[in-house]
């Protein structure tokens, strides 16, 4: 960020030293030396496959945070969507209907979140905290607190199948990454998103009706939670009422690690990909070292606070 004064007008700035890349490489090296199984092809492909669900919700989370927003409800919505998906599939044996149900849940919550933020002007972290409670409650209500089991075998293919030797989730992940990259950098919608964070007044002055766009960003997040619900259900072979509770934290962590700023709308979608991989590598490596999942959560929390500290230092300097 040292050249900040020299090029104040560049709209899109990549972090000059992507700290997330350094931490990713550092973690890979650390685990490569500390646990022998880490660098095996099987484990590396495992990391990629396991990171896809996180990537699917971290991508829209990046866009949401770039609009100076936040979506704390995403984990709960993902849980609710996966329960609805499981319930529909179990009763109709139709994957398409199940997916449509999950997408409908996601879109509905996205619409509510977006409307609360864009139309009523409620601060996003509180609006989505409220809908988090609502989604969590609904998840308990539709499932009555029980797991939904009896998912047919073909659903599992979505997670454990391969196409041309490559696991399906990885292909899904690559596809959606490309989609979001194009969406953010090569469409007018993406330009508006970048303007929504940090320069909303300019949009208003330019006569852009930004409220529908902001609602659309949250609906995109909800629908991606619906897509992730399919992979999640296929992976666990069941719907569980607390399955993805707290997953929004991993997503926010990945976005923050990736260098997207919470206050100025500066974002970097490739950074989010690196952030997702960092979280994935960290969890996998700690797993191999037999460190319990609770400590992993604490590590990620500490990492996020550190990343935000760095982010704060940077924006403070400039």
């Amino acid at each position: 960020m040292t050249d900040h004064a020299l090029s104040p007008s560049r709209p899109l700035r990549l972090p000059s030293v992507p700290g997330v890349a350094i931490s990713l490489v550092g973690l890979v090296l650390l685990f490569a030396f500390s646990s022998p199984g880490f660098l095996s092809t099987g484990n590396l492909s495992n990391i990629l496959v396991q990171s896809v669900i996180l990537l699917l919700i971290a991508l829209p989370m990046t866009l949401i945070i770039m609009t100076e927003g936040l979506d704390l409800s995403m984990g709960a919505v993902l849980t609710l969507a996966s329960l609805v998906l499981a319930l529909i599939i179990v009763s109709t044996q139709s994957l398409i209907l199940g997916l449509l149900g999950a997408l409908a849940v996601g879109l509905a919550f996205g619409f509510v979140n977006g409307s609360l933020v864009a139309v009523l002007g409620i601060p996003p972290f509180v609006a989505t905290l409220g809908t988090l409670g609502a989604a969590q409650g609904l998840a308990l209500i539709v499932s009555d607190g029980q797991s939904v089991v009896g998912i047919p075998r073909f659903v599992r293919q979505a997670y454990s199948g391969t196409v041309a030797g490559i696991p399906t989730p990885i292909l899904i992940g690559i596809g959606f990454y490309a989609l979001f990259h194009v969406l953010l950098y090569y469409t007018r919608f993406g330009t508006y998103i970048r303007a929504l964070g940090g320069n909303r007044d300019a949009l208003t002055l330019a006569g852009v009706r930004w409220r529908p766009i902001l609602i659309a960003v949250y609906m995109l997040g909800g629908s991606m939670a619906g897509v992730a619900a399919l992979l999640m259900t296929a992976r666990m072979n069941a719907g569980h009422p607390t399955a993805a509770i707290g997953m929004e934290f991993d997503a926010i962590a990945a976005v923050a690690l990736g260098g997207t700023s919470f206050e100025k709308g500066n974002g970097w979608i490739f950074g989010t990909l690196l952030g997702v991989l960092t979280v994935g590598v960290l969890r996998n490596g700690l797993n191999l070292m037999a460190i319990p999942s609770s400590v992993q959560v604490a590590c990620i929390g500490a990492l996020v606070i550190f990343a935000l500290f760095i982010d704060g230092m940077r924006s403070h300097k400039s």
Binding site: I122, V126, G130, G137, F262, S294, C299, I305, F309
Partner: protein, 324 residues
């Protein structure tokens, strides 16, 4: 801020400050709720149930009163529920190890306070937005607590200690006395001391507050420390009431605590709200949840209802400001 408008001479109408009006509306809402519940179910208007409501409200109030100060500065503390978890588990360990409820209570309070100070340092010194800093803290605390407890439960405390949560004095539960004490102390602190007024000023207009020379960083650390310490108080009362500690002990309390503050009329944008308002907010929320219980609504509906109440309360605040 309450500035009593002087009634012009000869005008028979009683003028009430805006804050007073807000409080009266909320008292009316609570009254209507009581009336509706006593009509809807016989079980409501029994002294047992009323005392039960007050005891439940007191737990919520401990948490929400500290949070009120944070919200008055325009911040938010999402870590209060997780704070209860760690504070309660550490306090339980100390009581079990030493047999001394006093040491245990001090441990719980100190743990809560230290966590609060960490939050305050992150917000004031590292300049991390409060909702993100405390959200990160939430998960750090969850991680530590779950690791520490490893799925175990600590239970069975000395009867003297359990009095804090389940004892009575003159027929009224001990936590209710504590609630009244903290209500008076909190109100006096916020309304009648310089520090309290500075907290309002920071939330109402941070720039003006800095220019007036208020030591903003120190006051911010103070309010987060208060919020943490009150979570410590809540953890002790909760522990004494439940007579057992588990890792997830306070998890479900964060959203209701925020709801209580917002129902009480505090604004998320800072500078507006009061500890007394939060008291009424805690009472209203407890009445709603108690009523659902009495009308045998499945407990699974509680997070949904609380979430909707949070959004509704914020919307009401926004709507009021737009009109003003």
């Amino acid at each position: 801020m309450s500035i009593a408008s002087n009634a012009s001479a000869g005008a028979p109408r009683i003028h009430l400050s805006q804050d007073m009006q807000q409080i009266i509306y909320r008292l009316l809402a609570a009254g209507l709720l009581c009336l509706a519940l006593s009509l809807a179910t016989d079980a409501f208007l029994t002294s047992n149930n009323i005392l039960n409501v007050l005891r439940q409200a007191s737990l919520l109030f401990f948490l929400a009163s500290g949070l009120t100060l944070v919200i008055l500065t325009g911040g938010l503390d999402l870590s209060v529920g997780a704070n209860i978890g760690l504070s309660a588990c550490l306090a339980a360990t100390v009581i079990k190890a030493t047999g001394s409820p006093i040491l245990g209570t001090l441990t719980g309070l100190a743990t809560g306070c230290v966590i609060g100070i960490c939050n305050g340092l992150m917000v004031a010194k590292l300049r991390i937005p409060s909702f993100i800093a405390t959200y990160g803290m939430l998960w750090v605390l969850h991680g530590i607590t779950y690791y520490y407890m490893a799925g175990e439960t600590i239970h069975g405390f000395p009867p003297g200690f359990r009095q804090i949560g389940s004892g009575h004095f003159l027929g009224i539960p001990i936590p209710v006395y504590l609630m009244v004490g903290f209500l008076v102390a909190g109100t006096v602190f916020a309304q009648r001391t310089v520090w309290g007024q500075q907290i309002y000023a920071i939330g109402a207009n941070p720039v003006a507050a800095r220019l007036t020379g208020i030591p903003i960083d120190r006051r911010l650390i103070l309010v987060y420390a208060f919020s943490g310490a009150m979570a410590g108080v809540a953890s002790i009362v909760f522990l004494a009431r439940l007579n057992s500690a588990e890792g997830d002990i306070g998890e479900a309390l964060t959203l209701p605590a925020i709801a209580a503050v917002l129902i009480g009329g505090a604004s998320l944008f800072g500078g507006v709200g009061s500890v007394f308002g939060t008291f009424i907010g805690a009472l209203i929320l407890t009445l709603v949840l108690n009523g659902m219980n009495l009308l045998s609504v499945n407990a699974n509906w509680q997070p949904l209802v609380t979430g909707v109440i949070v959004i509704f309360a914020v919307w009401l605040d926004m709507y009021g400001r737009r009109k003003a």
